[in-house]
Amino acid sequence: MVPISYYLVLSAILFSLGVVGFLIKRNLITLFMSIELMLNAVNLAFVAFAWQWKSLNGQVFVFFVMVVAAAEAAVGLAIIIAVFRTRETLNVDRVNLLKL
């Protein structure tokens, strides 16, 4: 039997890796993938708690998180395309002006 704390620590590790990716990467698309990694880590924690308390509400919540992540990915990638169209770069250090 796996103690729930193992799952929670794995979730914390994955979440922290997502944060470090968000901090050190300079590519817009990779930053976006780091956010997805953080969402996945939180999903793991939700499922672990649902398993611990024998309640399905946590799993339903993960379903909603996935829906929101899908919507976020669609809109975010559209924004990335719009940014690339005007600046012709994906480096966040070069996206430093509100107006061209």
Partner: protein, 182 residues
């Protein structure tokens, strides 16, 4: 015992792929690493009796969302990321901050309940599609409908944002736009 072995196998794969996501310079390699993370998380979901979520994780996350990512990477022809002074500063500050974050998270999770009781797998607790659907369409009907509206708005927003900018002819602005954004 077998579950512990499976947990460590898939947990190690997930962490290794997440580290690889950070180490790779090219976005397409990062995207493929993220797919590995999602697949191993689906296996962990299965280990915790979340059958429906494991299937959804593979179909929606590793399937639909990551295809969208790979599609955009191909569309924009994204190359390897470049090093800038900002990225070096971020790397110097980012790693200690994250070690701190991971340490404090793990300490908080472990300190409250140093020896949580291990839970038995099974025992009738399986997140089958039937059980999830009964919750979703009975107790969580309103949030479910709201998410469908959210998806609709996201579709329209994506179409509006990603479509090429058009010249607004006439109606809104009397004079033609001075400088077309390109």
């Amino acid at each position: 015992m077998l579950q512990l072995v499976l947990f460590f196998v898939f947990g190690t794969i997930a962490v290794a792929a997440a580290v690889n996501l950070l180490a790779q310079r090219h976005p397409i390699n990062s995207a493929l690493s993220l797919i590995v993370v999602m697949a191993s998380l689906a296996a962990l979901f299965l280990l915790m009796g979340a059958e429906f979520l494991a299937a959804i994780q593979v179909i929606v996350y590793a399937g639909a969302i990551m295809v969208l990512f790979v599609f955009v990477i191909m569309l924009l022809n994204a190359g390897a990321e470049e090093r800038t002074p900002g990225s070096r500063v971020a790397m110097l500050l980012g790693f200690p901050a994250v070690v701190l974050l991971a340490g404090s998270l793990a300490w908080t999770l472990l300190a409250r309940n140093p020896r949580p009781a291990p839970v038995a797998l099974g025992g009738g607790f399986v997140g089958s599609p039937t059980a999830i659907a009964q919750l979703l369409f009975r107790d969580f009907l309103l949030p479910f409908e709201v998410t469908s509206v959210l998806i609709l708005i996201a579709i329209m927003g994506a179409v509006v944002l990603a479509s090429p900018p058009r010249t607004t002819a006439g109606a809104a602005s009397p004079e033609p736009p001075a400088k077309r954004e390109r």
